[in-house]
Symmetry: D2
Subunit: 359 residues, 4 copies
């Protein structure tokens, strides 16, 4: 088990979906950061369930308590512990699957690894754990705000519905205006309807979250193994249901010639070195180059569906897993703040590590 | 700079393309592994330049020396240091770019981060560094061979030429029979011709490397942050020129309904729990489930091309970067052993970490 | 700030003396450990204040809550979060020192490092934080109990009063029979009286805690940097007020000839390799050799005294620090369970790391 | 095995006493450090054998080669690999002990842990490995020199011969004027004679090395677990033959009252906060306070002696270990540069980590 992430801005999350609480300890946040509790709560509210009829109806207040590390409104350089109580656990909803392995969930693999599992919901593998990441990510965002950095994620695809526009052509300020979190209102409407229809069928569908980061100066990232995009990729792939990650030109860039793919340098009117195109995605050789950083993260359809499915039980006998309880028909609207949070955690760590790059 | 990877099977690589040597220290390889130097050399030979006319003509013998950690043919549990001398450095080839930033290379970002750069070739950012990874990965493979694990990568796409078959329909024993390292002979021929034409134009082209890993038992991987696929993703994204990573159904899985995507469990004739399909890619909840693990890695067209390109110099003045020297028109044939090596390093670490999972 | 310890059995503590709570997250405890809450509470009770008139009268119930990682009485392999609420904070006791630097406390250095400090008591530097270590150490002890390991610390010196007997001549089962935690009843009586007299003078005095660990098999420890005794030393030196650490023959061994110091090997009646003497302290080359491990830890007189002292305030102006509030006149009786806890954390980590030593 | 030390200034050493070479990779040295190869060689020369008749007559040139990380006389921020070839291996000297466990050496414990050992000399457990640390420590010293930091160690005790003066009363510039490395010429003479007599008897004797560090600003150190003195302690205890560590008042401080032990603060004429005494050893709460840092390290008599000793062989049968080969009768003169090197490595890491302490 590794629930610890980061070299200098280090977080350690804990908690199961149906235990008393989830939470996180942040060890390494510099002293002097303005600790805005309203902002942190707002970030948690973006992730919490029950925001619209296309998200799970499980109700969690997701209110957090600060146990340490903050004094007179500022971080102290000491560990910051944040705890979120689980209030709507309804373990009874899950009793029927205590002895079954749900298809494409982590029931079987946790049992194989640890010899047993907490069968009340997803236990540790539940996406509920990501609330702790969002809380920690919010603190990272507060740190990064001192550096002028902005992180904006949005939904670019739901099932076969693709936004089909690069980030440069979008007004990202519109992202939070709709339940899908797609900055294009028309596409957002189509996506909403599609997700809702999927929900009614008791099924689920996948999607893609894009993310754009502005304000990162040239120089962040730690090659050769902790390249900025490698850490971003690891962080995204660590989110539940993620199946793929690409940055800059990504998989599509494979089909280009180098002469089309290379980003020509020029010096702008302020004397800053820029690139005319940004197929590099703001990162070259694993280090930020000052251009906007952008990447895409693919989410599979969530495994919980309201249909009967073939499976086996913990004794290896055939079993039918029935769909009960509450679920998200499509995870990407609620994944938007999680993607941002993980990106913030990566960048906070890279910011601090870069302080030691040279005399 | 972080040139260290791994928690228990830990490697630390070093070396610039035009310095005296590159190499790696492996700290944490268990004692008792059969240290097969012929195998390690063979792996290095798979990566080395000059294998055919579609790879760079730079000549490096890539012979390695063992400085420590091996005694009487066995690893000792002590650090294993492997060194590969640079024999064909030709610094003069690079003198003309000492003051220029080559587009989509790491020249600018290294300078921004460190205040200077080793302008003899790519310096630390050169793909030459990956030879050290291949050597370390070969040792990891020797460790994993004791566990019955096999790692096989192959080229599945070059530019727009796609193999278009899942791994189950391929005969991976054919991969090494051609210079492209595509297991389908006909497609390999087309790819070879395409790369060669690209080379003649002085241009470069991207590609995709797929990888299949068999023999991994259920239980490897360390959620929530060090999920098996998250570590594989980080490792792949740490390879030069990689722009994307996906495992199992990947980006395509986004378009499926959960009812089509979920892998039904069953018990096979030997009593082993299996899945009927493998869209999970052998990993559920970040932990291996015993099915074959597979993933895909996207490589951009390499930045070095034999054409003039717009850029700036270290003083911010406009400059024209001319194409000289030797380069790979398409990196994926030589990337195959690198992908395998990085996968082996991830798995070796996960194997050792899993020993502590339960009493 | 680094409040994280351990490579595999990793803990992350948090909390200030006068904040809402202190606690710890344990990431990496194997699944399957019997989680005995009564034992953990008993360990906390050994450390808590107010046990006799020679310890601080500050009252803390030190009751802990388990937030995660335990299900049906067993650890799950997932992070274990333990929280202890601060119930007797009395911030008013400390208001008078908000602007002063207390001599030989961490007030000045925390301010120098972080730019500010939580002046309510010791904040993060308070020994109250060690309650979280004791809780985590108790979990480590439960893990080690499965391996038959016993850790016993005791007070061997208070001021100039020295026990003067090696561990082999002591009955360690008597340690907990007196308030001083010295296994020799007569010496314990003298020490108690001495501490009490020191208390009445408003002064404080130092002491030494010895520790003996039995049941560790040969092979634990990770040279060359993470030698078993080096990790024990770091762990002990990380406890508040510790000024020195020695193991085996320690500083006294300096005066011996090699011919007197070397521990001769022999094979005992069961065929086990043993040593006739144990000046090595159970560790050779940084690895346990199967003999009892023993070490000694020196604690300075605690800095808080009930006397006026010369100092400066946060503006650099002269100030007189007055002794108020509650304090421990001698820290070693309550340090005994802390020493044991830290030793348990080191050994738990070394146990898990050693699983990867060889095929 | 953990041959890696450091969080940001990270080193990874390798090599056995009788293999082809030893060396170190430094990952994380900032770019821009003046890389003075003469200085590094001089540091190695201080440690190398054969300096006088009271050190081992084994001859090693200890010349190092730089394989990477340096360009045009400056560090590049990339890994620095340093290699020292073993030139005087004489494996034959050790053939007679291939099957024996030498008392108080690491022969038995390495075999117990790894299942076999490199019996040519100490293998990995040989003090020869410390040459790599001295090389790395020299680079750390070069980094610290940019911060005005000076590290000076010296011999303060050999057997029962004690210098008996605090560092404030010594002229440390005299340390290198004699073979013992004691700054007091008269005591140095007595010590030399005593070591020489011990050598003639075929025996060995222990000693103490003190170390004083000046120029460290207030604020370095990472509580609660990575306190500055805890890291120094771990680093010292990781040196071969070390049995104890104390800083500031150390074990002697145990006997003092708090009213005598506390260091009163005052503001000096330059406005700097100082302490009137320095029993804290320059560190309070695990963080440097700007006063000189000092500590003491106890070395046992080295285990190799020129006498017959009782032991067992690898089959558990009784055996007599005969003294042959070459050895150091007292390790402390050559340990002086090793102590300094390890201190430099700790401080370099703490310096870099402190950069992230606050906004």
């Amino acid at each position: 088990m590794s629930s610890t992430y980061g070299t200098l801005f280090k977080i350690s999350t804990f908690g199961e979906s149906h235990g008393p609480a989830i939470g996180v300890v942040i060890d390494g946040c510099p002293a002097g950061v303005d600790f805005n509790t309203d902002f942190i709560q707002a970030e948690l509210d973006r992730r919490k369930p029950g925001q619209s009829r296309i998200t799970t109806q499980r109700r969690e207040a997701d209110e957090f308590e600060v146990l340490s590390g903050v004094f007179e409104g500022k971080t102290q350089g000491t560990p910051i512990a944040l705890v979120i109580r689980n209030t709507d656990q309804r373990s009874k909803d899950y009793g029927h699957i205590a002895e079954q392995f749900r298809p494409s969930h982590a029931d079987y693999t946790y049992t194989a690894k640890y010899g047993s599992r907490d069968y009340r919901g997803g236990g540790r593998s539940s996406a509920r754990e990501t609330a702790a990441r969002v809380a920690a990510g919010a603190v990272a965002k507060l740190l990064l705000a001192h550096q002028g950095i902005q992180i904006q994620a949005y939904v670019s695809q739901v099932g076969k519905l693709k936004l089909g526009k690069p980030y440069q052509e979008l007004d990202l300020s519109q992202t939070e205006t709709n339940a899908v979190r797609c900055p294009d209102a028309e596409m957002a409407g189509q996506m909403f309807q599609y997700i809702d229809e999927t929900r009614k069928k008791g099924d689920s569908i996948g999607g893609v979250v894009d993310c754009v980061i502005t304000g990162v100066p040239a120089g962040w990232g730690e090659p050769v193994f902790d390249k900025l995009h490698a850490e971003l990729g690891k962080a995204m792939l660590g989110i539940n249901a993620v199946k793929g990650f690409e940055y800059g030109s990504g998989f599509a860039g494979v089909e280009l010639y180098g002469s089309d793919h290379n980003d020509a340098f020029y010096t702008d009117e302020t004397g800053k070195v820029r690139t005319r195109t940004n197929l590099s995605g703001g990162i070259q050789g694993g280090i930020s180059n000052g251009e906007p950083i952008y990447f895409r993260t693919a989410f599979k359809p969530v495994a919980t569906i309201m249909q009967d499915q073939e499976s086996v039980d913990v004794h290896g006998q055939p079993a039918v897993v029935s769909g009960k309880g509450r679920h998200d028909p499509c995870v990407v609207p609620r994944a938007v703040p999680i993607v941002e949070a993980m990106a913030a955690l990566v960048l906070a760590d890279m910011y601090l590590r870069n302080l030691a790059a040279r005399l």
